[in-house]
């Protein structure tokens, strides 16, 4: 990112034209306050205290399934092909505040409970249609919550999962090169090229 990109992004954020532009920002920003960021570990001065227990392989695989329901394979590969779960786990571990980590982990249980309630099955055992119905309902819930959310209110766990799924997928090699387009060394700039519906977007700008 450059300063101009950052400024443009802030411009859009502040202007409120693109709510989704905060994806990259909330990806690593605390949901409520910064007060827990930088808490020192008394045993290791200089190290941020991080008592977060890493997600186990089962949980990571679970996240991959959630991500794949949000961004499934279509004419291009989906989140499962990009193995998004482990990336989400790394982001929760390293970038989230302890507060957001707790919301996220509790969210896994909430999602599972919601699945049981909706279909009498856990998320993993649910059919693709049941998964989609469930996550569509949860997305509606988070949208309504976010609409009236004050900055100091906690984040909604499903918004976190959706954000991390999108970040994880579209910035992965598969997402960036198969779902989107990426050219490492463009070599030139053309500010006016034809575009037709269906052409893929650039992964980065």
């Amino acid at each position: 990112m450059t300063r101009r990109d950052a400024v443009a992004r802030v411009a859009l954020l502040m202007g409120g034209t693109v709510i989704g532009a905060e994806f990259m920002l909330t990806g690593c920003s605390p949901s409520t306050s910064d007060k827990q960021a930088g808490t020192q570990d008394s045993k290791n001065p200089g190290q941020v205290a991080n008592n977060f227990k890493a997600l186990n392989p089962e949980q990571t695989a679970y996240l991959t399934e959630v991500a794949d329901t949000i961004l499934p394979a279509t004419k291009t590969p989906g989140a499962k092909a990009a193995n998004v779960g482990p990336f989400m786990a790394v982001m929760v571990r390293d970038c989230y505040t302890p507060e957001d980590q707790k919301i996220f982990m509790d969210g896994l249980d909430k999602l599972e409970a919601a699945s049981q309630k909706a279909s009498g099955k856990g998320f993993i055992k649910s059919t693709p249609a049941e998964r989609t119905a469930l996550l569509t309902a949860l997305d509606k819930e988070q949208r309504e919550y976010t609409k009236t959310k004050k900055p100091e209110d906690p984040n909604h766990y499903f918004r976190m999962m959706k954000e991390l799924s999108m970040l994880g997928f579209f910035t992965s090699e598969i997402g960036a090169t198969k779902a989107l387009r990426y050219v490492a060394v463009p070599g030139r700039y053309d500010g006016n090229v034809p575009y037709k519906k269906g052409d893929r977007a650039w992964a980065t700008s």
Binding site: T2, V7, T17, C95, F170, A176, L180, V185, P186, T204
Partner: protein, 559 residues
């Protein structure tokens, strides 16, 4: 002593220090360039420059540990995973904020020339005459004609791409071919020109990215990864341009890990005789001697070196006789503007990642235009199509969402003002001797704020941005004021200003310290006013001009 004696010493290796070293060595002076931090070798040490986005574990984002380690850097986009090593270790080098002050530093060879924004503009006489006309602070001791040839000199060497737009507020330079506006920007520019009857202009940014091969450097490849260090050497930095030129003369010695703690002043000759250096690795102290010293440690640290060079003769520091050393801190306040959506153009897109944007030069208080504040601002911005991170309100989750996000969204455009900050005597920095850095050296306290004039300007930055974008056909235009702390523009200036009178300025019209004429300060510290344009090109020009003066004075045996 003999082995530590050179013709010239350059303190700092960033944009202006690198230029000083190049100019001095090309004029035949044996020169040592002292850099407080580590070396970063061109290309070889650009660790992440060739990595794909997915090769970074957090895809560029900051971790909680990074935030804890960089309590200042985290205040802006500057804290990120991809070039973290280019930013100062804040734990080792703290400072005190009497008022909030964002100080984003690069302590290594090349300094911030590695991460800079590269926008390069000339000042005009509108800027050089403003203080005198308005009775603000002191008059610049130079006018445009004094520096114009040196702007050319700097531009030709650095390689500045830009269009010759023929605007008096923003003089044209010796440019490489301009980068291109995209299709929406071109139409917006044409509509602004028409709507404002040729009184306002939107131009392509003038940037220190070369658009054709130049001095063994490869032209810009449109990767937009400049701040990782460019493996093509396509943007101007110490590493890509001035350092190799200086090394090629055989006259340069580069000494990293060299913290200059003071300039050694000889009260008999009334000249500086050298500098004291603390080796940042070994903590050993050395002295280096030279006939002339160029102080280019960046605006605030150059003032620090002068203040820390206090003697019986100058108890408040070398160059302190006027009482202005450390005062008149300036920056460019920014992050107020507007953005909106451009309907249509769905059949248009771009190829390549342009490391440049558009620029709208200052139009306030120009000619017959009058505002309720002094000076003015320019806008930087760009238009582009939204990417995958946009919100699609009518979609939830699933294949439709994914497929929609794999296509570009609507065209949007945002502009943000970069405004002039007036030189207020009360905006100052000073040594805090009660607090020490990792080397036991006193640190700086920052005591500076923007005031009424700047705050009025910020309101105008928003409303003019909205009017102009709407006049250009953008819809759903929203203004924003993202807040600003002094220093956040990363254009610190003014702490050892140039002037015509030793009673009211630290430097004379040739950037010599009045109190020690063989010491030249040619970084942001020298600025008498800030103008509203990005300042680095002016530092390059002032530096080359000052070196020319210094060499002339040495020949005449005046210094």
């Amino acid at each position: 002593m003999a082995q530590n004696t050179y013709d010239a010493i350059v303190i700092g290796s960033g944009i202006s220090g690198g230029m000083a070293a190049k100019e001095l060595t090309e004029k035949g002076l044996k020169t040592i360039m002292l850099e407080r931090g580590r070396n970063i070798e061109h290309i070889k040490d650009y660790t992440n420059a060739n990595k794909a986005p997915w090769e970074l574990p957090h895809r560029g984002n900051a971790t909680q540990q990074m935030k804890a380690d960089h309590p200042v850097l985290k205040r802006d986009y500057t804290l990120n995973e991809s070039n973290l090593d280019y930013w100062v270790d804040e734990r080792k080098s703290p400072y005190v904020e009497a008022k909030p002050f964002d100080w984003f530093r690069g302590y290594h060879v090349g300094g911030r020339s590695l991460m800079w924004g590269r926008q390069s503009y000339r000042h005009s006489d509108l800027d050089f005459e403003a203080n005198a006309k308005e009775g603000i602070a002191v008059d610049w001791p130079i006018r445009y004609k004094d520096i114009a040839p040196w702007y050319s000199h700097a531009e030709k060497f650095a390689g500045i791409s830009g269009n010759r737009d023929g605007l008096s507020v923003l003089p044209d330079g010796d440019f490489m071919p301009p980068m291109e506006m995209n299709v929406v920007e071109k139409d917006v520019a044409a509509r602004i020109k028409k709507h404002y009857k040729d009184q306002r202009h939107m131009i392509i940014g003038r940037t220190a990215n070369i658009t054709k091969p130049h001095n063994n450097r490869v032209n810009c490849q449109y990767r937009n990864k400049c701040w990782l260090g460019c493996p093509f050497g396509a943007y101007f930095s110490t590493q890509s341009a001035t350092l190799p030129a200086a090394m090629a003369t055989g006259n340069l010695t580069l000494r990293p890990f060299s913290i200059v703690t003071k300039i050694l002043y000889d009260k008999d000759t009334k000249r500086a005789k050298g500098v004291e250096v603390l080796d940042a690795e070994t903590n050993k102290t050395y002295e280096y001697f030279a006939k002339v010293i160029f102080l280019n440690a960046s605006a605030l640290n150059s003032a620090w070196v002068l203040m820390n060079s206090a003697t019986d003769v100058w108890p408040e520091g070398l160059g302190s006789s006027s009482g202005e050393l450390g005062h008149n801190v300036m920056d460019h306040h920014f992050r107020a503007g507007a953005s909106g959506e451009m309907p249509g153009y769905e059949d248009k897109y771009v190829y390549g990642r342009r490391a440049n944007g558009i620029y709208i030069p200052r139009f306030q208080n120009v000619g017959n235009d009058k505002r309720d504040y002094l000076r003015g601002f320019g806008y930087q911005g760009s238009a582009g199509r939204q990417g995958w991170s946009r919100d699609i309100a009518e979609m939830s989750i699933g294949g439709d969402l994914k497929d929609a996000l794999t296509e570009p969204g609507a065209w949007t455009m945002g502009i943000t003002g970069f405004g002039e900050t007036l030189p207020y005597h009360d905006n100052r920095i000073y040594l805090d001797k009660s607090k020490k850095d990792a080397w036991g050296l006193p640190v700086l306290t920052m005591d500076a704020v923007i005031r009424d004039n700047e705050n009025k300007m910020r309101v105008d930055m928003m409303s003019e941005a909205k009017d102009m974008l709407e006049a250009a056909g953008l819809k759903n235009v929203k203004t924003y004021n993202g807040g600003y702390n002094m220093g956040g523009g990363i254009h610190e200036m003014g702490t050892a200003r140039m002037g015509r009178d030793p009673k009211t300025s630290v430097l004379n019209g040739n950037n010599q310290v009045w109190d020690a004429p063989n010491v030249y300060v040619t970084d942001g510290a020298a600025m008498t006013s800030a103008a509203c344009v990005n300042p680095s090109l002016t530092y390059l020009a002032l530096t080359a001009r000052a070196v020319d003066h210094a060499v002339g004075e040495m020949k005449k045996q005046n210094i």
